[in-house]
């Protein structure tokens, strides 16, 4: 029994991504069609040539949510859902399907239309239950990391807040260079630090953007890749884990790590043959749903030794010009977080960067990129890590 991976057996040969943000003039069907056709065009394939589809989105009950708007004629369309890692999950399924030989060409697509709910923040409804599940919002559950991390590594609250603000500042700075991002302007550190509190110590500027958007990828077996494009990108690793939820259940977990992330990163590095991620990874898109999440991810992904990520943040290690740029496209923070689309949006940035198409935010000759996508809450989550390269 082992997680063997599919290193260099599958390639992405086309991608599409809509503008993320407030699409008052578009519904989920419109967004899906925009992203799907952009991906068809990018790969140079006719819609009728795609053999199978995986759709990631919240709350839909079937593949009909994609086959009906796209008028996909009698083909397999699978709806997948894995919290905020849903987009990555659709990609993983599509990659395995072509790797197995079951299909030649598959599409992974994700979409979310959050701005129609009328509510602040993300809303997830539970099945009928006994009323003991609690009423915690997403920013609150992730903010549990902050006091725990600050206390463990001796940061006073003000120092800690500076570190978190620096992460949001960096992501906004990157997003300002991205025409498809929801928020396309730099935000001064002081504005971030003093933004209205949402879940102490997090302010509104520590939270990712509530957003509409869609992104799609076309995948084929590696040997076929150059039939579609001269610059395919290759899957080096795909790892996904779901945890047993012991964080809020068993003493010992200290809310300064995601064990699920450590497990999926370890697996992904093993699949890709990476031993020194801090040196070997050229760039990463990580799940910065809230600023303390990104801080903890640096350590869980092995980018910073334990207890030192905050120093790397302040030193600019993860800036666009830094040694290991993280969230060069602006991340969830600035690009926005339409749940089902986010994992594929992360991959879209890898696609652009590895092909030298990232414009003002182009990183110099990247070779290996990492995407990290998670869903749930600290101690009780699902985590996805991919590694892609040329």
């Amino acid at each position: 029994m082992a997680s063997n991976g599919i290193k260099d057996r599958v390639a992405i040969v086309g991608m599409g991504c809509t503008q993320f943000g407030e699409h008052w003039d578009k519904g989920p069907d419109d967004l899906l069609i925009d992203a799907a056709y952009a991906a068809y065009e990018s790969a140079g394939v006719d819609p009728k040539d795609v053999d199978a589809y995986w759709l990631g989105t919240m709350g839909q009950l079937s593949g009909l949510a994609l086959s009906v708007p796209l008028k996909i004629p009698y083909k397999p369309v699978t709806h997948v859902e894995n919290y905020c890692a849903t987009g990555s999950e659709s990609l993983r399924q599509a990659c395995y399907a072509v790797a197995s030989g079951a299909y030649d060409i598959a599409m992974a697509i994700g979409v979310e239309k959050l701005k129609d709910s009328g509510f602040s923040g993300l809303v997830v409804s539970d099945p009928p239950n006994d009323g003991t599940l609690g009423n915690m919002t997403a920013p609150a559950s992730f903010s549990l990391l902050a006091p725990a991390y600050f206390k463990k590594y001796g940061l006073d609250p003000d120092q800690g807040k500076d570190v978190l603000s620096r992460i949001a500042w960096k992501n906004h700075r990157n997003g300002a260079k991205n025409p498809k991002a929801q928020f396309r302007k730099e935000v001064p550190l002081e504005t971030i630090k003093n933004s209205p509190k949402v879940a102490d110590p997090l302010g509104i500027m520590d939270c990712s953007g509530v957003s509409d958007g869609s992104a799609a990828a076309i995948v084929v077996r590696a040997e076929d890749a150059h039939k579609f494009t001269k610059d395919p990108i290759f899957i080096k690793a795909l790892s996904f884990v779901a945890g047993p939820g012991e964080g809020p259940l068993a003493q010992g977990y200290d809310f300064t790590t995601f064990r699920e992330v450590v497990a999926s990163a370890t697996d992904a590095y093993h699949q890709a043959g990476i031993t020194k991620p801090r040196e070997q990874i050229s760039m990463a898109e990580v799940h910065d749903c809230f600023t303390p999440t990104e801080l903890v991810l640096y350590e869980d992904l092995g980018f910073s030794p334990r207890g030192t990520a905050w120093k790397d943040v302040l030193a600019g290690f993860f800036d666009l010009e830094g040694t290991l740029p993280v969230n060069p496209d602006g991340g969830l923070k600035s690009f926005g977080h339409p749940i089902g689309a986010s994992g594929l949006r992360m991959m879209y940035e890898m696609w652009l960067q590895l092909r030298g198409e990232a414009g003002a935010r182009q990183i110099k000759r990247p070779t290996l990129g990492l995407t990290h996508n998670l869903g749930g809450m600290p101690g009780r989550c699902v985590s996805f890590v991919s590694i892609v390269g040329r």
């Binding site: 509510f119 602040s120 006994d130 009323g131 009423n135 559950s141 725990a148 879940a199 068993a250």
Partner: protein
């Protein structure tokens, strides 16, 4: 010789929040009364407060021995549905109990105690809980005079610390205070009528009768507790009986307020805390009639220790602003947050998880010994399947492992404080924290568990447990 019955143990509850009478007066521009009143928090009601008092009363008596449960209140959270059943589930009483709600009059408390005693005379002890959440319209006298609180007694024939020597009751039909179903605030007749024509005579008769039955004279009373809607009725009685000031129990008017159906019980619990063997205590209450009970404190009381006295609960407090109080009671409507309404909890899942949801009973793995909550089938530590034993967490202390202040979640009292707590002896839980000052919450703080009404949705009250700072 008839079987001796009496109070075996008792508990009390005064909510953490206090509303200063001067703060009401300042907001409304009305004359200020002295002192302050206790206010049930936004997540409390008569049932949740009764649970707190009942848990205290059951610290020295095994809940499995209880045969009868009576719950007295004028503010039952459910008009139809047995409120006592919620108290029983939270207090982890056995299935085989007789249970009833006694309501309709602030007089309900003392008769509940006496009915419990009657039930216990023939067999198993009775748990009698009384609680009220007094609500009155702004600017009225009752708003300032009222208070919220609870008391609970186990009455039985073994281990009695205060024997019931005699009782007397009188009941008459008259119109003084009334409220029809659906009304939030009670109406009252002109005070002089009830004072002169009803309370003073009826209270006087009940007290006279109970003393006569026991052949005890007023000077032999160590303490007399009088609970009447109009304090002047009590004054008249005291003058008539020529009692010394030292013989009068504290009315708690300045610190708690008049707690309705719970008040006679709360005053009695307060007096019992300082009682010595041989003391004689007379408790009398008037409203829709009158009841009087004469108690003699037994030798067993010398060894009885009340873990959380009324006095201690009165001292454990924090202020609430009048505007917050009005919001909590939904007297002052507010703009709802842009968040979905809370969802109504579902009947079958609540039924399946009764011991967890209401009793806060988790599980402990028999294979590796790890306590865990909610109760699990597969052990979080060793993955053994179905080796779990029930493991109660309600009375366990815990420490905060981490926390957050949620300003986005729907709450009548934002921010919602969420804490991850680690229990002494093992087990961890993520829950809300209440009765705290959010800015002072810190990792390592000690907490204890309290039974609360989380919210009400679709007419269903959602009860569950929260953490609170040690009281």
């Amino acid at each position: 010789m008839p079987v001796m019955v009496g109070i075996v143990s008792y508990g009390s509850y005064v909510p953490y929040r206090r509303l200063k009478r001067a703060a009401i007066a300042q907001a409304l521009g009305t004359p200020a009364g002295k002192g302050e009143r206790a206010v049930a928090s936004f997540d409390e009601d008569s049932v949740s407060m009764a649970v707190e008092a009942a848990r205290d009363a059951l610290r020295t008596v095994p809940s499995a021995t209880i045969g009868t449960l009576l719950f007295a209140t004028t503010t039952p959270p459910y008009a139809e549905k047995l409120n006592a059943a919620i108290v029983g589930a939270a207090a982890r009483l056995p299935l085989e109990i007789r249970a009833a709600d006694l309501t309709g009059s602030v007089r309900a408390g003392l008769p509940a105690l006496l009915q419990g005693a009657d039930a216990a005379r023939g067999g198993a002890p009775a748990l009698v809980a009384m609680a009220d959440c007094r609500l009155a319209a702004p600017e009225g006298k009752s708003e300032q005079a009222g208070g919220d609180g609870a008391a609970a007694f186990v009455v039985g024939s073994e281990g009695v610390i205060a024997e019931i020597e005699a009782t007397a009751s009188v009941t008459r039909e008259f119109l003084d205070t009334w409220r029809t179903p659906g009304e939030r605030f009670a109406h009252g007749w002109e005070e002089r009528f009830a004072l002169t024509q009803v309370y003073a005579p009826l209270l006087g008769k009940a007290i006279h009768d109970v003393l006569a039955k026991a052949t005890v004279t007023p000077d032999a009373l160590t303490t007399m507790i009088l609970d009447a809607p109009n304090p002047r009725a009590a004054d008249e009685i005291v003058r008539g009986m020529k009692l010394e000031p030292a013989q009068l129990g504290d009315s708690l008017a300045l610190t708690v307020g008049q707690t309705g159906a719970a008040h006679a019980g709360l005053l009695l619990a307060n007096v019992l805390a300082a009682a010595k063997p041989g003391d004689r205590i007379l408790v009398a209450t008037a409203s829709d009639g009158a009841d009087a009970v004469l108690l003699r404190v037994t030798d067993a009381a010398a060894d009885y220790r009340q873990p959380r006295s009324v006095g201690r609960l009165i001292e454990s407090k924090g202020d609430v602003a009048y505007a917050s109080y009005l919001k909590w009671r939904e007297i002052l409507p507010t703009e709802p947050p842009r968040r979905p309404d809370p969802e109504r909890p579902a009947g079958p899942p609540m039924f399946r998880s009764e011991t967890w949801k209401f009793g806060f009973v988790g599980s402990r793995c028999d294979a590796c010994g790890t306590p865990q909550l909610p109760p699990q089938h597969v052990c979080v530590h060793c993955q053994a399947r179905d080796r779990m034993m029930p493991y109660p967490f309600a009375d366990r202390r815990a420490k905060i492992a981490t926390f957050t202040l949620d300003r986005l979640a729907y709450s009548l009292n934002p921010p919602t404080v969420n804490v991850v707590v680690d229990y002494d002896g093992g087990g961890r839980f993520l829950c809300e924290m209440t009765d705290c000052e959010p800015e002072t919450v810190a990792i390592g703080d000690e907490v204890e568990m309290t039974f609360r009404r989380m919210y009400t949705a679709g007419g269903v009250h959602n009860y569950f447990w929260k953490a609170r700072p040690k009281r």
